[in-house]
Structures are given as structure tokens and as C-alpha cells.
Amino acid sequence: MIFNFSMKTFEFSLNTGRSQARKRLGRFGRLRGGRFYDWIVWAALVSSIWRAAPSSAGLTSDENLAPPATSSFEGSSFDIFDFEGPKMKDLYYVIMRDMDAQLLAMSTGKLDVLSDLYRPADVERLARSGAAELSLASTFHGFFITFNVREFPWDQVTLRQAASQVVDRRRWTRDLFSGYCEPLASFLPPISPYYDPLETAGPPGVGSSNVDLSNAGLSSVEAARKRLADAGWTWDLAGWLVAPDGRPAPLTKILCPPSSVAATTTEIAQLMAEALLSLGVPAEAEPIDFQTMLARVDAHDFDACTNAWTMSRDPDVLYSFYHSSMDVAGGYNLSGISDPELDRVLRDLRYAPDEATARVMASRAQRLLSELSPVIPLYSRYSISATRNDWDGVFTTDRSTSDNMMTLVSMTPKDGKERPIYWNIPEEIRTLNPLVSSTAYDWTVLGTIYDTLISVNPYTFEDMPWLAESWSIEPGDAGSVLTFTLRPGLKWQDGRPLTAEDVAFSLRYIKDNNVPRFYDSVKDVESIEVAEDRRTLRVFMGNTSYWHLHNIGGMLVLPQHILETVSDWRTWQPTNRPHEALDGTVLTELIGTGPFTFRESRTGEYVHMTRNEHYMLLRPQNSKGSKETEETKEARP
């Protein structure tokens, strides 16, 4: 495709001296900037690219790969009441699938916000067009090569460490993704608050540092072969690897999706096979249908496979991936790693009573995983989004691209004229039943309707007050006891007051109905108490775990007066059921507390939403310090 974009000159105002990034960004010319958020956007871009950009020296190993420690975050004093909004009355989620069509729409103003840019050419094309400002952030995505450690030869830890040592993440990500991915050498992504660069370093040459000082002067392949030789491995006359007990290494087939489905993944599998060949391990990529691959991995019928995960800020995902109890049908311990010490640490991580213990256990788990190397982390995707540059108020941090809630709340056209926001969704909305929907695109819409008790600070990924103004977690007789206090004066989009009764009802409803999507979050809830002030809620859990705070605090809050009328949550279609607001407006049963209220969905076309006039960040509700207004006082029972 040839696009007739006019080349515009960007102004680049960055006061950092990161030459790598400058080189990289030089391809875009200079960046438009000057204001605070621009600085943040491009600082994010630079800091991320700084970690990902290939060195001009053309490094072929992962030296200097370790990202900077994540101890100095900005914005820990971030306050959502610094924002006021939503500023715009109308929001349209526009369904537009084809990436080229999306770019044309961005250029012509038919779209204002575009998420999930993933093709390097598109990023550069948009940057050159001058129509949009781009933001980039690291994500919780991780791509791995997983070995079946249940069988020879991958049950041998030395071989796994050697294999980990010969991968050239930096070159692979540079060649395959033009640097728009971050080489990953850790089991938690570096963006995770629990990522520990020191513990992830692992044994010499294996972990995130990939620096083996004891083998200085050797290439990574030579060092890996030396590691094997030191452990008693030998090579036959043809150069194939032989185990210390005399067994030759059998052919390793690396399962991957076909190139027609995921070209880069197939290519990575081939590169991995070549890397194994350099060690003398017979290996080849085996592209197969994705569902067949999943079925074979589930049945443990594989040697190695490619797989990718989107993790979360909580490190207890490591339990799901590497605890031996998860090596069951439907479990996620794909490699089948089973180590008593690792199991103990992961169990202590999952059931950590407090944040400090959790942090210690997360570090220990990362150290053990670096030593055991059940999988090889390879890369992590960036999130890249674009916002048309005729909007003000776009909010980004180095951990959050512009397609976020605060942007939605605060964006205003530069010309000051009221107009709708057109926000792209690249796939059809499947369902807007919050108890059933599971795709990220459904939740893009639902996320603007429903709120949670606590949210995540976009600068630090720490907990941040949202519907709850305060909370605590304490040990109880049977398990953790969580106490949440709601902000005063909260209202549903239909004007009715939100109380702790609603929160309690939501939790009980989801638990009593075993709603699969939220099953894990509420399964340990024993009982719930609502205080007389109807703002305080105590949740008694059946066991102790710090993560209960995030599971319960991150649950969506549904209105009791709506949920009571739902006869079957599985077939509930809230958008098809009219519901009258207190002021007489006819809405639907898709009622939350978020910044925009659902109005209409034309299947496959768009979702229309309007500003929630009761939103907590709108004046007069948004009086800093959550002061109650006369109106909100009256609304309270």
C-alpha cells in the first residue's frame, strides 16, 4: 500500500540524553511536544525503546539487557480528583477491523483513538503523517518457549540452562519486530512491581543478565557448550549431544502455529531450533493448527512449544504457571515443572499474608525459576496507541498508553467545539453481559460503565482509591478480613445511590451462581457484613492471602436493584432491557457508575454512550476530598 502522507516535521523536546532512543526516533523526525503529557508520552517511548532498541554495536548476546530497577516511580501522589470529566457528551466505540482502514480513518478524522498498533510500518506511518500522537508502554505480555520437562532430554536442568543461554533475544526481537518488542529474560515482565532484576539474574549466563563472567571471552554458544561439557555431556562423532548417562538427545520438535496464522512465531520457533542445533540438539520447528497444538500440549504430547501469556501486576500468576498442582488437565503448568522448593515458595507467595511477605516470596520464586529454567522467556510486546493530535487532555504514563480511562475523562477538542469521541474497537462486541463477556473488546466498553472498589495507580501500579476511599486487610480467625469504605455520595448512572449493600449483593450473587469468569476471585469469600452507615463493607475470607485484596477490590460492582430482577445471568442481555432512571430517562439495564452511560449498540457497527452526569469526577460531585454536596446528601438513604 502506498499512502499519500505529507511528511511533517516533529518537534522533539526531550531533556534526556538517551542516544539510543534518539537514533531510533530519528526515523520519525522530531517529536511534537512541549507540554507535560507530551513529555510523559515520549519519556515512555524513550524509556521503553531504550530497553528494546538494538545497540549500534550490533550485539549478539543479551549483555546489558537487564532493564533498570523499578524503584523510582513518578506519580505516587497521583490523585484522580485532579481530573474533572468526562468533558465530552458523546462517545462512540467504532468497530473497524482492518488495520489499513483504521489508519486511513485516523488520518481523515473518522477515528480519534486507536489502540493495539502492532505493525512497525503502521507506527512509523502514523508518526510520519502528523495526524496523531503516539504513545508506547511496556506490558504484561510475555512470549516463551516451553519445554516438556517431564521427559528426556528436557528433564535435565543443565540442558535447559544451556538452551536459555544460546538464545539471542536482542537480535531476534530486532530482526522480527524492528525493535517494537522488548527482549524478555525474566519470568515476570520488568514492568511488574514484583520484578526483581537481581534474583532473575539466575546462574551465570542463564538469567536476565545473560552475563557469564566465569566464561569471559567465550561466545554464548561456546559458554553453553562448556556448561554442558562441565556437567558431563558429550558429543558423538556426528556432533550430536549425548547425555552423561550415554543417551543421545532425541529430536526436539518445537510446536508452533503455522506462518499463515502467526508468521513471527513460526520464525521464532525456527530460530530456536537453530539455536538448539548449535548445541548439538537435533531440533526442528513443527507448525501445526493452533487448536491442535493446544490439545497436544494439554495432553503432554510435545517436546517444546511456543506460547504467550498476558500476566497481571500480581505475581501469584507464577503459581498458575509453575506449581506442580497446576500440572493437570486445564491447568497452566505446561512445562510440567515439579520442584518441592519451588512449590513451597509459590504456595507461600499465593497465600502471603501481607505485601512484604509477598514481595520476598516473589523474589525467591524468580530466583528458583531462573535456576530451573522450565521455560525460556523471549520477548514482551509493547502497547502502542495513537490519539489524533486535535485533542487535548490525553493522559499517558510510562506504564499506560493514551487509550485509558483518564484520557476518556479529560480529553477535549483543541478547537473547543463539542463533538463526539470516536474510539476504535478492532473486533465486534460479542456480548455486553458483564457476567459472561470475556473478550478484551467487550471489556473496553464495559470498563467505561462499571467501576471497581480499588484501581491501579497508572504511574506505580500500586493500589489507588476508586469507589472505595479507604481499605484494609487484616488477619482474621479463619482467614483475611477485608474492610472497604466507600466514598460518600456515589450514584449509579440511573441516579440511585450506590451503597455497600450493592457491593455485598454483587459479591454474593457472583459466588452463589458460580459465575466462571469471577469464580476464582470470590470462591474463598466466607461471609460479608455491611455496616450501618451503608458505606463500610467487611468481607471475611476462608483463608489468608494478600491477593484477596486485589481480587475483591478489583471486582466489578453491579447494582442490586438491577441484579435482583435478572432471572438467568447466563442469558441476561442488559442492553435489550429498558430501565427507567430516576429523572425519567429511559436507559437500559447496563447501569454502572463509570464515566459513560450505555445508550445504544448497533451490532457490528458501533456502541453509543453518553456522559454519566452522576460520575464521581464531574463537578459538583468532584470536589476535592470527596465533600458531600446537598444533592448527594439527599440522595443518601
Binding site: 467504532v94 490439545a295 494439554d298 500468576v317 497446576m326 486445564g330 465486534e428 476464582d520
Partner: protein, 321 residues
């Protein structure tokens, strides 16, 4: 009459076989609806709850009986992907697909037929060379390329048509809504006609060239019949049965959708639904879609057989005997 009854009975047997295979093939295929749920926050116990929600915890025989009941009653059950009745899903998609693909099929067949006959009649001329070239180009270009090119030209450089969908945002009301709908479908329709007329033109040209060289055409000319009558009543009529067969067997494709076109133009159609239902092992949706397609294919086949009798005297006489 006996022949007709035999054919109808044969079609029913085919439908029963399809109905049974439709159930078991999806279950035999590697993976199941739960295999695709790869989310570390979705524990094996939560997956089990999902199996209960989808009725996958029941014995296979019970699932089969439920499936047969749903298919024969045309209720089809709930989609696993959306939780919405499959019938509602199809109702919202098939009209768009038919509104796009039926005119595209008719127009491309008509254009291809006209050009094919024209080329056959003017052998060796510039007209024939042009038809052959345009037919080959149209037939061989990848659809996404042509469609993106059209979008670039007619929705971006000269913004005559919209970039996406079947309605403006917000949509107009009243009669303007229909015009808006047609305006949105014009570019996808145009692209499909461009992409498929070539196949028709080349096919009809080849058959007409052969028919025009037959003895009965020579005889018709020798009898002094008008040129138009020789071409259409003698040569063209002889190629009509296979042309009609191809046309009728193309009709199920009008319902099954065009995945790439739906993607490029962001259309809400049946093609992507079918693809996603199959990929995600959404048994009720995929089962219903394939069953309906089989039903339509069998019906079109039956219709083709009947029309053969009408347009070909030899078949008519054979059937009568």
C-alpha cells in the same frame, strides 16, 4: 414423479448424515471450547464451571439428543462465544451478507456472461483480448489487495464512499437510512463484482467458443436463422445447464459470507461469525451454521436438478421415460 421422490429422499439422507457428522466431527477435532480458554486467572476449577455453563459436563449421548432437538426445532441453542441465541446471531448477520453477496453474484454473473459471449463472438479481436486480460486479472488478484486499493482511492483520496460498516455514525433516520445503507454497501459490492466477474467471463467464453463451433450451430446458420437467435437460442441454450448449476451451487456462498470482504470493510456478516465459531469450537453456532449451509446446498442441488429438466429437453425425455 418417482425420480423427484427419489431425489428428495436422497437429499433427506444427506441431511441426516450431515446432522450427525456435524455433531461428532467437532468433538473429534483436536481441542474443545475449554482448550481455547488460556487465561492464568481462569483456574481449572473455573473452567469446570464454564463446562457446566455450556452443558459440556453432561454425557455425550445427552449432548447429542439436545443437539438434535435444537437443530430440528431450528432453535440452535445459545452461542458459547456470546451467550446470545444462535438464531438471533444469524438473524442479525445473514441479511447483511445476503444484501451484499446476492447482488454481487447476480451482477458478476450477468457481467461475466455478457462479456464472455461478446468475447466468444469476436474471437481474435481486441474485445476478446481485453476480456481475457481483464478476466484473468480480476480472477487472480487477491481480494484484500483490490479492496484496500478501492478503499484508498474512493474512501480516502477521493472520499466518495465510507471507510467502514453498513451505516453512518450516528445513522440517519427514515428513508435516508436505506440510502445510507446502500451507500455503505456500494464499494464492497463493486469490489466483489470486480473480483468475480472474470471467472464467469472466462468460463462462459470458453464454453461459448466450443458451442459456436458445433454442427448444430452451423446448421442453424445454414438455415438462415438470425444471428441473435443462433447465438442465444442455440449456442447459449446448450451451455445453460452447466451455467445454471454453477450459479445455483454458488447460492449457499451468498449466505456463508465473505470473510475478507467483511474484515476489510468492517461489515457485520455471517462469514466471520462462521470462522470464529469454528475456531473457538462454539458447538451450537458452528453446528447451526453448517447445518443451515448443508440445508441450502441440498436445496440448491435439488433445484438445479429440477431446472435441468426444464432447460434441457434430453434430460426431460430421459426423466419421462
Amino acid at each position: 414423479m418417482n425420480a423427484l421422490i427419489k431425489r428428495v429422499a436422497g437429499s433427506l439422507v444427506v441431511l441426516v448424515v450431515v446432522l450427525v457428522l456435524n455433531f461428532f466431527l467437532f468433538r473429534v477435532m483436536p481441542g474443545d471450547p475449554l482448550t481455547g480458554v488460556m487465561d492464568p486467572r481462569f483456574s481449572p476449577e473455573a473452567k469446570q464451571q464454564l463446562a457446566v455453563q455450556w452443558g459440556l459436563d453432561k454425557p455425550l449421548t445427552e449432548q447429542f439428543l439436545v443437539y438434535i432437538r435444537e437443530m430440528l426445532s431450528f432453535r440452535f441453542g445459545l452461542s458459547m462465544m456470546t451467550g446470545i441465541p444462535v438464531w438471533d446471531e444469524l438473524k442479525s448477520r445473514v441479511p447483511n451478507t445476503v444484501a451484499l453477496l446476492l447482488p454481487a453474484l447476480l451482477l458478476s454473473a450477468a457481467l461475466g456472461l455478457w462479456l464472455g459471449v461478446k468475447a466468444a463472438l469476436k474471437r481474435g479481436s481486441k474485445v476478446e483480448r481485453l476480456v481475457l486480460l481483464s478476466g484473468a486479472v480480476s480472477f487472480s488478484f487477491p481480494s484484500f489487495f483490490v479492496q484496500l486499493l478501492l478503499l484508498l482511492c474512493f474512501a480516502y483520496v477521493w472520499p466518495i464512499f465510507p471507510l467502514r460498516g453498513t451505516s453512518s455514525i450516528p445513522p440517519p433516520e427514515g428513508p435516508a437510512a436505506l440510502l445510507d445503507y446502500l451507500w455503505h454497501l456500494t464499494l464492497p459490492l463493486f469490489s466483489l463484482v470486480i473480483l468475480s466477474f472474470g471467472g464467469w467471463a472466462l468460463y462462459i467464453r470458453n464454453m461459448m467458443v466450443k458451442a459456436l463451433g458445433e454442427d448444430y450451430v452451423l446448421m442453424a446458420r445454414a438455415r438462415g436463422l438470425p444471428h441473435r437467435r443462433v447465438v442465444w437460442n442455440h449456442a447459449f441454450r446448450s451451455i445453460l445447464p452447466p451455467v445454471l448449476t454453477i450459479f445455483l451451487l454458488s447460492l449457499p456462498g451468498v449466505v456463508s459470507g465473505a470473510v475478507i470482504t467483511e474484515t476489510v470493510f468492517s461489515l457485520h456478516g455471517a462469514g466471520r461469525f462462521l470462522l470464529e465459531a469454528t475456531n473457538s469450537h462454539d458447538y451450537p453456532s458452528a453446528g447451526a451454521a453448517f447445518f443451515l449451509l448443508a440445508l441450502l446446498t441440498v436445496f440448491c442441488n435439488l433445484l438445479a436438478d429440477l431446472i435441468y429438466v426444464l432447460v434441457d429437453p434430453r434430460v426431460r425425455r430421459e426423466s419421462a421415460r
